[in-house]
């Protein structure tokens, strides 16, 4: 993890879990795996706080524990995972996707799971039903079975998965091999292997048979006291629903595959037209189940199959479909490739190549926005032609020599372009050496990714700064809103309401409005940068997988 990543993780932890967890989390990120004692000693926090923070981190999957490196007797060690914490940036996108696919119920289920980390199906279903009931019209309640069915659908499509059962990391227990849930066949070695992924368990996506009969409860304001007392009583004796000990978590990888597909489809729609994007969408939908997450391209699909699976609203003729497919194959973005001639032509969607091209387009757009379109032309030229001398750059880009030199120097100083020396003689005499400019896509993408992390961290810090500056004003406005709400609930006269509203003066209101505007802008900027982060991360991960 780089310094920028650690800084961003720290800020995200602070916003969502508080400063104590931030301190523990950043310490774990910077120093790797550590045991409890060292963490307490080095962070200087109290034992209780450290324990509680570690519980929170483990509960949300940001940290894992394993038995120590020195063998079964040593204390448990905790590692924090940087990637997992950075996912917090993407939570709104996950929730929104669930809403588009499975409606409000799906949205609330994913939101609950993201807020609580690992939860059981029964508790999630109950909470979601209650929340849905709150928002429904008077007298209507949400049935548990509806929520359960949405939950099952989410599990079937692999958006949710079970948390892997943990090995017993007891210091006093003898590490019984039967308890370590490794895949069958591995020897009972000391638990030093990487933690098993959730997918290595056969029951990862199996919905337990849960007996949940009931409807959501609406919380009425007048019965608040009673509700709290009955809720406390309910906590004392939890009802078991047959799924004790089975915890669920959100499967981020599946969401990422979905986002990747969406990005490809919208790219095709932007470059070509709606019909082509529908064709690509159909192809991706057909290969959803057959394609592994790390696959370079989808399984070959014949043109006949595609024709049959097109949505009925798009009744295009067969020859037109063939023409569209040919267009897609010939497109320089290489989204679709031809894999054979049987069945009217076998076509695949080139996933990795599409990601690489999208990343390339992102880099070009960054150069264009930062340095102007002529510098972007030079950049594109170098991407295409690999190595060029300065004279050749001037000629190919059709830019006067002086300006081309300036632009090249600027790009070089920003590290977007590299210089490659090719000597003619063993001593690197400058007059007898070729100096070639070149662009390497992968390292440049990595550099840009780090710069994105830095950007988001700066945005978050600025937002926190703005909030802190106007803390008094915000508190005052919150108090007044609370007073207004209570007055309205108890049915006050309009004069009283206006009187309370006037407690905020006009310039203060204006200040609040500008503050609100700034915070909204900073937040949406974070969301937008996260889209770029996703694209670059997917590209970099795809190159890792294939290499």
């Amino acid at each position: 993890m780089t310094a920028q990543e650690v800084r961003l993780c720290g800020l995200l932890l602070r916003e969502h879990f508080g400063e104590v967890v931030e301190k523990v989390g950043t310490h774990l990120l910077k120093s790797g795996a550590q045991n409890l004692r060292t963490i307490i000693h080095e962070t200087g926090l109290s034992v209780d706080l450290v324990k509680k923070s570690l519980c929170v981190l483990v509960q949300h999957g940001a940290s894992t524990f394993s038995s120590g490196r020195k063998g079964p007797g040593s204390p448990t060690e905790y590692h924090a995972s940087c990637d997992r914490i950075l996912r917090i940036l993407r939570y709104p996108r996950y929730i929104y996707t669930a809403k588009t696919l499975y409606g409000d119920t799906g949205e609330l289920i994913i939101e609950e799971l993201l807020q609580r980390g690992h939860t059981m199906m029964s508790s999630t279903v109950k909470t979601v039903a209650d929340r849905l009931t709150q928002n429904m019209a008077e007298g209507r309640t949400m049935d548990y079975s509806e929520v359960s069915s949405t939950f099952s659908k989410l599990v079937e499509t692999h958006f949710l998965q079970r948390c892997p059962p943990l090995p017993r990391v007891g210091n006093k227990d003898s590490s019984a091999p039967s308890e370590t849930p490794a895949t069958p066949g591995t020897p009972a070695a000391p638990v030093n292997t990487a933690p098993p992924t959730p997918e290595s368990f056969p029951e990862c996506y199996k919905v337990p048979s849960v007996t949940l009969i009931g409807r959501g409860k609406r919380q009425l304001a007048s019965e608040d006291g009673e509700e709290q007392r009955s809720a406390k009583r309910a906590k004392m004796d939890p009802e078991t629903h047959g799924d004790e000990g089975i915890y669920w978590q959100v499967n981020f990888e599946r969401f990422h595959l979905h986002f990747r597909d969406q990005t490809i489809i919208s790219a095709v729609a932007n470059k070509l037209d709606q019909t082509s994007s529908e064709i690509v969408r159909t192809m991706l939908r057909m290969s959803e189940v057959t394609t592994s997450p790390m696959a370079t391209c989808t399984k070959p699909l014949s043109a006949n199959e595609i024709f049959r699976s097109l949505p009925p609203s798009y009744n295009i003729l067969r020859p037109i479909l063939d023409q569209y497919l040919t267009l897609l194959v010939d497109d320089p973005m290489e989204f679709v490739g031809k894999a054979g001639e049987s069945g009217g032509g076998m076509f695949v969607v080139n996933l990795h190549r599409a990601l690489a091209n999208l990343a390339r387009a992102t880099l070009e757009s960054v150069v264009q926005e930062r340095f102007g379109s002529r510098s972007a032309r030079i950049f594109r030229l170098l991407l295409r032609k690999r190595h060029l001398e300065q004279k050749q750059v001037e000629d190919f880009a059709m830019i006067p020599a002086k300006e081309a030199k300036d632009m090249l120097y600027t790009l070089l100083s920003q590290n977007l372009v590299q210089l490659q020396e090719i000597p003619k003689t063993p001593d690197y005499a400058p007059s007898r050496t070729f100096y070639l400019y070149t662009v390497n896509q992968l390292p440049t993408a990595r550099m840009l990714l780090q710069s994105c992390y830095k950007t988001v961290a700066n945005l978050v810090e600025r937002r926190l700064f703005e909030t802190k500056e106007s803390k008094r004003l915000l508190e005052k406005s919150q108090r007044i809103e609370a007073i207004l709400a209570s007055l309205q609930a108890s049915g006050a006269e309009p004069e009283q309401l206006t009187e309370v509203e006037e407690m905020i003066t006009a310039p203060e209101k204006q200040q609040l409005d500008t503050l609100r505007l700034h915070i909204n802008k900073l937040d949406s900027a974070e969301n937008q940068v996260d889209e770029t982060i996703f694209l670059l991360e997917s590209y970099i991960n795809s190159t890792n997988a294939s290499s």
Binding site: V21, P92, E369, P430
Partner: protein
């Protein structure tokens, strides 16, 4: 960017000898904090989806603040004593007690036994000792007991001092009462004439080793 100066210097050397044109002058000081940008950045993409995502993000942040996993340390800066502190503190304590994860999924050493401080504690002067509560919970490990004793003592002090207030004492005296109480406790604990600080009853022994039960204690 530390290599920038170096890079430019070698460049100027090479380019000069090759081309004969003057290179751009090298920069000798750090760049300004907010440099003037030649190209203004693009505006943010608006639209329904972006606004909905924004609302989701802010709601999620707000919701996380109210969950029990948002940990705020109990110590707060007390620039001015406020009457509302009495009520705010009890709120925070409730939140800590709220969350009960499934302890089977966590390593044993992380288990924190947070118990509600005794609401029916006796009068201010005598602090009801934790051992009766210990026996109720049936904790056997001595070091865990000692550790919890320490943390509980602190919590009970706050609780009993709050109870004092509820009776008659004013808020200003709470500070003094706390300080006094610590001193008073020691004296009243055994109701002897001997000063407690001279006597070491071994309570501190073992409490410093926190909770790492694997370490041998000599």
């Amino acid at each position: 960017m530390a290599a920038r100066g170096r890079g430019q210097r070698t460049l100027s050397f090479t380019m000069e000898t090759v081309k004969g044109d003057a290179p751009p002058p090298s920069v000798q000081q750090p760049t300004p904090v907010f440099p003037v940008m030649e190209q203004k950045p693009l505006p943010l993409t608006g639209g329904e989806e972006a606004e909905y995502l924004l609302a989701l993000k802010q709601d999620f942040r707000g919701a996380m603040r109210n969950l029990p996993c948002f940990i705020q340390p109990l110590v707060t800066h007390r620039d001015v004593e406020r009457y509302s502190d009495k009520y705010n503190r009890s709120e925070q304590m409730d939140k800590l007690l709220d969350w009960a994860p499934d302890w089977k999924r966590f390593p044993r050493e992380l288990r924190v036994h947070v118990r509600k401080p005794a609401r029916d504690s006796v009068s201010a002067a005598v602090q009801s000792p934790p051992p009766p509560q210990m026996k109720k919970k049936g904790v056997k490990d001595k070091e865990e007991v000692l550790l919890k004793l320490e943390s509980l003592e602190k919590k009970e002090e706050q609780e009993t001092s709050e109870d004092e207030e509820g009776e008659t004492k004013k808020k200003q005296e709470e500070e003094e009462a706390e300080a006094e109480e610590e001193y008073d406790e020691e004296e009243f604990e055994e109701e002897t004439d001997y000063i407690m600080s001279y006597f070491d009853n071994g309570e501190d022994f073992g409490g410093d080793s926190d909770d790492n039960m694997d370490e041998a204690i000599y």
